[in-house]
C-alpha cells in the first residue's frame, strides 16, 4: 500500500514539476491551512477538519507522518516558548443556518505524533457567537505582539470579524478582555506585525466553488492590534475595505487563509491554500509563496519559474557570467546618428555555438560584468524535486548546456561542465521582502555554514553570510 502511495507521489511530482513552481508538490491537499509550524526538523500544518500535512523540507508535502487533530473549522497555530498553541473553531450553523460558533484553544509540547510528549491539553473556549448575531465565531487566527501580548481574531462571512486578547500563559481569555469588531464579512482572518504596524489579513470572495472560486486575501493595517484597520485607499475593514495580497495566478485559483512564516530577517513566506490547482484536478492545495513588502503593504511574491534569466547584482547592476574569452559582438556600428538613408538591418545576436567551442572543458570561474545578453551570461533555472520551505531547489546552468553553477570548498564559486545533482550544485532561490532574490547553495563542501551568493566588489561573486541589510547578498532575476 505504501509503495503504491509512493508511486503515486512520484507521478504527482512529475506532473507538477513539468508545469510551474507556484504550489507545493507531493500530495498537498488541504483547505484552510494553519500557519506552518516547525517542530524537530519537520514542517506541519492542519486544515479544516484537522487533516494534517507534513514535510521534511517544506517543499514536498503529504499527510504521512502527521496525525489528524480533533478540531473543527480552520485551525491556527503559534509557538509560545516551547509549546504549540492551537486555536480552532466550530459552529452549529451551516449554509443557510445559524451562526453559533466557538473558538477554542489547546496546547501541545510537540507536533510529532510519534513523540511520547504528544498530547493535546484540555480545550478552552475563549470566544463564541450566538445563534443569530452579526458574527460567526470560526476561523481563528493567532498573533503574539512584540510586547508579548497574545490575540486571536475570529469571524467569517456572516458579520463582524472580532479580536480578543488571550493569556499567553494559559491560552484562555485575558482577564477583562473585550471582543472588538475590527472588520466585516471576511473569512480566515489573522494578524501579523511588521515595521510598527499590525496588519489584519482576511479572505474575501467566493469559497469552495472549485475553479470558479474567487477567494482572495486582503489586508488593512493599524497601529493597534484592536484596529481600526484601514486599507490603502483609506477604507476601514469594518466598511469592507481591504488591499489585495493575492487572488489567483495562471493555473491557480482562489487564494485563501493566510499564514506567515518568518524564515529569518528579510525572508518571509505566506502559507495559504489555492481553492483550485488546475494541475491537480482542480483540488484545493497548500501553497507557500514569498512575501514582498512594497510601500508598506504585503504582496505575494514569486517563486522563480523554470526559464532563462540574467542574474543581476543588486549592488551594481552587473550580470553574473562564466569567465570565458571576451568575444566582440559582430555587426552593427553606432555611427552617431549617421548612416544616411541606408535601410535598417537586424544585427545578429551572439549565439552559443559561436563561442562555446573556445570555452574551457573543465571548471570555469564566474565573474560579474556588463550584461550584453551573451551566451555566457544566460542562466537557465530548472526546479528540482526537493527544496526548502516554499521553494524548490534549482539547478542553474548556462542556457543550452549542462554547465552548472556550483559551490566549492572554501566558500567560493565555479561552474562544472556537467550537472550531477550534487548538493553543492543545488540552489534555493528565495524572493526577499524587498523583491530581490537570495540564492543559496544547498551545501558547501567542507562546511555546514549557511551561505548565499554575494557580490564581492562590482565585478566578482563569492559565497558569504546572508544579511538582508547588505546589498551584496541580493540579486535580481531578469527575463527579456
Amino acid at each position: 500500500m505504501k509503495k503504491i502511495f509512493q508511486m503515486g507521489l512520484v507521478a504527482l511530482v512529475s506532473v507538477s514539476m513539468s508545469e510551474t513552481v507556484m504550489a507545493q508538490i507531493g500530495a498537498p491537499f488541504i483547505h484552510d491551512p494553519a500557519t506552518i509550524m516547525e517542530c524537530d526538523g519537520k514542517y506541519y500544518t492542519w486544515g479544516t477538519g484537522g487533516s494534517p500535512l507534513v514535510s521534511s523540507d517544506g517543499w514536498v508535502w503529504s499527510s504521512e507522518g502527521g496525525a489528524r487533530i480533533q478540531v473543527g473549522a480552520a485551525p491556527d497555530m503559534i509557538k509560545i516558548g516551547d509549546r504549540y498553541l492551537c486555536a480552532h473553531s466550530s459552529t452549529g450553523g451551516g449554509l443557510g443556518g445559524g451562526h453559533a460558533g466557538t473558538i477554542r484553544t489547546m496546547w501541545n509540547k510537540t507536533l510529532d505524533p510519534k513523540s511520547p510528549d504528544y498530547e493535546w491539553t484540555e480545550q478552552i473556549q475563549v470566544a463564541e457567537s450566538l445563534v443569530d448575531e452579526d458574527c460567526d465565531a470560526i476561523d481563528a487566527g493567532l498573533i503574539m505582539t512584540p510586547d508579548g501580548r497574545l490575540f486571536v481574531t475570529y469571524g467569517t462571512y456572516f458579520g463582524f470579524i472580532r479580536v480578543v486578547e488571550l493569556d499567553p500563559a494559559t491560552g484562555d481569555r485575558a482577564a477583562g478582555a473585550v471582543d472588538v469588531n475590527v472588520a466585516v464579512d471576511c473569512e480566515a482572518t489573522t494578524m501579523i506585525y511588521q515595521d510598527g504596524w499590525y496588519y489584519l489579513l482576511g479572505t474575501h470572495g467566493t469559497c469552495c466553488d472549485g475553479v470558479n472560486s474567487t477567494y482572495n486575501i486582503v489586508c488593512g493595517r493599524s497601529k493597534s492590534p484592536t484596529g481600526p484597520f484601514i486599507d490603502n485607499v483609506g477604507r476601514d475593514m469594518v466598511e469592507g475595505g481591504g488591499k489585495m495580497v493575492l487572488g489567483c495566478r495562471d493555473g491557480y485559483t482562489g487564494a485563501g487563509h493566510f499564514g506567515r512564516y518568518i524564515v529569518e530577517e528579510g525572508v518571509q513566506k505566506m502559507s495559504f491554500h489555492w481553492e483550485a490547482d488546475y494541475s491537480m484536478s482542480g483540488r484545493s492545495t497548500l501553497a507557500i509563496l514569498p512575501i514582498v513588502w512594497r510601500n508598506g503593504w504585503p504582496e505575494a511574491g514569486y517563486n522563480v519559474k523554470n526559464g532563462v534569466y540574467e542574474i543581476e547584482s543588486e549592488r551594481r547592476g552587473y550580470a553574473l557570467e562564466i569567465a570565458t574569452e571576451y568575444v566582440r559582438l559582430g555587426g552593427g556600428r553606432g555611427m552617431f546618428g549617421g548612416g544616411g538613408n541606408q535601410p535598417n538591418t537586424q544585427v545578429a545576436f551572439q549565439k552559443l555555438e559561436d563561442v562555446i567551442g573556445n570555452w574551457p572543458k573543465g571548471n570555469i570561474d564566474v565573474r560579474v560584468i556588463d550584461y550584453q545578453f551573451r551566451p555566457n551570461q544566460k542562466w537557465e533555472f530548472v526546479a528540482q524535486e526537493e527544496g526548502t520551505l516554499g521553494t524548490p531547489y534549482y539547478k542553474i546552468v548556462i542556457a543550452g548546456t549542462n554547465r552548472a553553477l556550483a559551490a566549492t570548498a572554501g566558500k567560493e564559486l565555479t561552474t562544472v561542465p556537467e550537472f550531477t545533482g550534487a548538493d553543492e550544485q543545488l540552489w534555493s532561490v528565495d524572493q526577499l521582502v524587498d523583491g530581490t532574490y537570495r540564492i543559496c547553495p544547498k551545501a558547501v563542501p567542507g562546511t555546514n555554514e549557511k551561505v548565499c551568493l554575494i557580490s564581492v566588489g562590482d565585478s566578482n561573486a563569492s559565497l558569504g553570510k546572508f544579511d538582508i541589510n547588505d546589498v551584496n547578498c541580493k540579486w535580481n532575476l531578469r527575463q527579456y
Binding site: 500530495a27 488541504i30 483547505h31 484552510d32 479544516t48 477538519g49 487533516s51 500535512l53 489528524r68 480533533q70 473543527g72 473549522a73 480552520a74 466550530s90 459552529t91 452549529g92 451551516g94 449554509l95 443557510g96 443556518g97 445559524g98 477554542r104 480545550q123 473556549q125 475563549v126 463564541e128 450566538l130 445563534v131 443569530d132 448575531e133 452579526d134 470560526i138 476561523d139 462571512y157 456572516f158 458579520g159 463582524f160 484562555d172 481569555r173 471582543d179 472588538v180 469588531n181 466585516v184 464579512d185 473569512e187 467566493t206 469559497c207 469552495c208 466553488d209 472549485g210 475553479v211 470558479n212 474567487t214 466598511e239 469592507g240 491537480m280 484536478s281 482542480g282 483540488r283 484545493s284
Partner: protein, 344 residues
Amino acid sequence: MNKNLKSILAVGMAVVLVGCGSNGSKIDPQRIANRNVEYDQYFTEIKADAAPAKPDEKGFIRRWTIIEPINKPNSGNTVFTDSYILAELTKEYFKGQFSNDIKSLPKTGDEVIVETEAPRASGRGGFGGFGGGAPQGAGAGQARPQGAGAGAPGAAQARPQGAPQGAGAGQARPQGGAPQARPQGGAPQGGAPMGGFGGMMGGGAPAAAAPQMVKDTLTWHSVDSKLFNIKLIRFALGSSNGKKRYGLIFNAFTVINCEQDVVVRLAAGSNASSIWWVNGEKVLTLQADRRMVADDGMSKRITLKKGKNLVRAAVINGPGMSDMCARFYNEDGTIFKNYTITNN
C-alpha cells in the same frame, strides 16, 4: 457573499467535537451579554412626513424606503451571472415597482400583493470534505430551531460608526417570532476524494421544475439605518417576524434633494448582487456573488438635478449576510454631501 463550505462542514464538525469530548470552559455570562440583533438595533422606522435627513459624516445614505423582501429562494449564489441579475432585478412584481414618478412614490405602511416563489426549505446535504477523505462520523441531519432573534446574541464592542442623521419618529418593531425548524445538511460523508471539492457549491441553480408560486403581501417601510450600511438581512428578519432570512430580493428607494445641478458618481456596495438607478437610469450593476464593500462599484458621471432625484436599489442574495451601502462622490474624488434625503 455567503457561500462558505466551512459552514456546512461545521455541522459535521460540531458532531466531531461533541464526540471527542472537548469540554469547553465555563463562559462568563457578561461576555455574551448585551449582544442584540433586535430590529431596532439597526433601524428607526420613520413617518412619511419625517423631517429631511442628511448623509452621515462619511456621506453614506442612511434613509431608505424598503419594501419587505420578495422570495427568490436560491440556495446558493453561483447563479448570479450578469444576465440572471438583469433578469431578476428588473422583473416587475408589482405595479409601479420601477416608476420614476416621485409624486406617486409609495408611503411607509403601503402594501402590495405579489406573486412569488414559495420559500424553499434550506439545508444542504453532506459534502466531500476539505483535503481529508478520512472517515467522518456519519449521522443524520440535525433539525435546529432557527427563530430570528432567538437568544438575542449581542454585538461585541463596536467602534463608533456615527449616529444616524435625521431621525424621525421611531417605531420599534418586534423581533423574534416563531422558531422555524430548519433541516440542516447531514454530517460529512467519508471517502470523498482528497481535497476535491470544486464545484460542490454549485447548487443554487433554479430548479428545473416550475417553482411553486404563492401570494405574498409586502409592506413598505421608511427607515433610518443606525449603521452606515443597510443590514438588509435584519430588515428581512425584523419585518417578517423572522420568516424571511435568505433567498430574497430587496427593493429600496430614496429621494436626494439638491440645491443645484451637480455632477457626481454614485458609489455603492452590496451583498450580494445589485442594480442601482438614478432618476430612472440604470447607473451601476454589481454582479456576481460579492460582499458589501464601501465604494465597491462607482457609476459613470451622472447629474443630480436641482430638486428631487430618485435613487433606486435592488439587491438579491441567497444565503448569507445581505446588506448594502451607498454615497455620492464629486468629480474630484471628494465625497458629496450637500443634499438632504427624504422618503418622498
